[in-house]
């Protein structure tokens, strides 16, 4: 199916959805299921993951000899 068609049908879908909840009077927004706050960690000695780099470079579509990931060139500098 074409992207445009998905978008068009999708709009009908969300219109239907939003109508189904239009009369909800609630004002509280629940972004999280648990009401926890301040889940933090203390800065500690860092860990260098020795074998991660190889795994990452192996699956990258393009890399250079120094171990950088190769991507597109910036359009405005080209």
């Amino acid at each position: 199916m074409k992207r445009e068609e998905i978008e068009k049908r999708g709009e009908e879908l969300i219109k239907e959805f939003s109508e189904a909840i239009a009369d909800v009077k609630e004002e509280v927004e629940t972004y999280y299921v648990s009401e926890l706050v301040n889940v933090v960690r203390i800065d500690s000695e860092p860990v260098q993951k020795k074998d991660f780099k190889d795994k990452m470079l192996k699956i990258a579509p393009s890399v250079d000899e120094e171990g950088n990931i190769r991507v597109e060139i910036g359009k405005w500098v080209g």
Binding site: V40, R41, P46, K49, F52, G67, R70, V71, G74
Partner: protein
Amino acid sequence: MEVLIGLEIHEQINTKSKLYCDCPTNYRDVSPNTNVCEICTGCPGAKPMPPNQDALDAVIAISLMLDCEVLTNRPVYIQRKHYDYPDLPSGYQRTSLPIGINGKVNGTRIREVHMEEDPGQYDPVSGIVDYNRSGVPLVEITTEPDLRSPEEARLFLRALYRILDFSGKAREEPGTLRVDANISMAGGARVEIKNINSVKGVYRALKYEITRQKSLLTRGEAVRRETRAYLESQMITVPMRTKELEADYRYIPDPDIFPLVIDSNKVEAIKASLPEAPHMREKRLIQQYGIAPLHAKVLTSELALADLFEAVAKKIDPKIAALWLRDKLKNVLNYYGIRCAESLLIPEHMIELLKLVQSGSITPETGEKLLQRMVKEPVSPLKLVEELKLTKIVEEKLLEEAITKAIAQNPQAVKDYLSGKSEALNFLMGRVMKITQSRADSKVVIQLLKQKLKR
């Protein structure tokens, strides 16, 4: 034409580990993609670790030093700011809601202070990305559009940078500062300049942009609302035709990270342990040590320099210490193009050096030469003096020899001096110093030369 400039400044926080993972933050010291893991490279399924508490505390401390009100007892969500750019591994940057608001620096209003994560490093010219920097904590500071000229922007940034330095929370390496500038002129739209990496760069980018916009406006053309990139190498700005950068960031609270609620008691505790602000320290140095205001200004241009001064002033006459640090040390640092924080000079060595000069064991000139080595390696000047035999020449005979040699080698200068050109004497003194490797007392040399060349 009136110019309105607002800045958005990013500076790295000096934690040991990254904001949302425990990778190291010393990204400059390692080869590409070494300090990385599944979290900071946006692997599928990777979840952030809980936010680094020390980074948050640093942002609170910095907010307070910028005279901001810290927002307490309400949820500060970590938001996802979505945009597509090669350096952004998850396709969104995590940025907190404001932690500090309504601050002031040098009369310029600070709008907001946020906590963010740094993206990786993308070179748009070669098209390569290194994610070592990805996830390093950042403080983001935005100003109101209160600045009126590139010069004002420069002064503001210097003042801001000094405060960040004195906070002790920012990374000490240079080049960690990044600035986006918003600029609008009467009759034109607001233009955002991204990608500026130095105070000098901000000044140049703004100058260029003002000239560009002025010429458009005087020609009767429109200044479009757009985002432009500053190209350091050419000192110009160019349009960034990336659609995503203009677009809606579609902020949502990150479902993987719970909101932070900053306790007012915690803010009080951080306030109580806040380091002295640079302008307060400047005042105190003048009062406590009786040094010249101009000296105090230079000494408080950098935290490490101010700390060094106070450590040295415990053992050495503060006025002499101030003079040496301001003149001789600053010269050496400028010569190498480094900041005091980057030098390897320790207070004990500086004290030793000044004692050697004060006792007359070495000449001031020798002292300055030693300083050149001492900022590059942590070496005791006493040892250096012994090793290199640099003590001041006191034997008349050795001085005689050097002076005779200098006179013999420079007949023209002798002639000049005898014919009345007194500056020739300084030249001859320089030759003697060179022959003696600066170990001669310059005053004694002048006297001896005068005696030798009686007109």
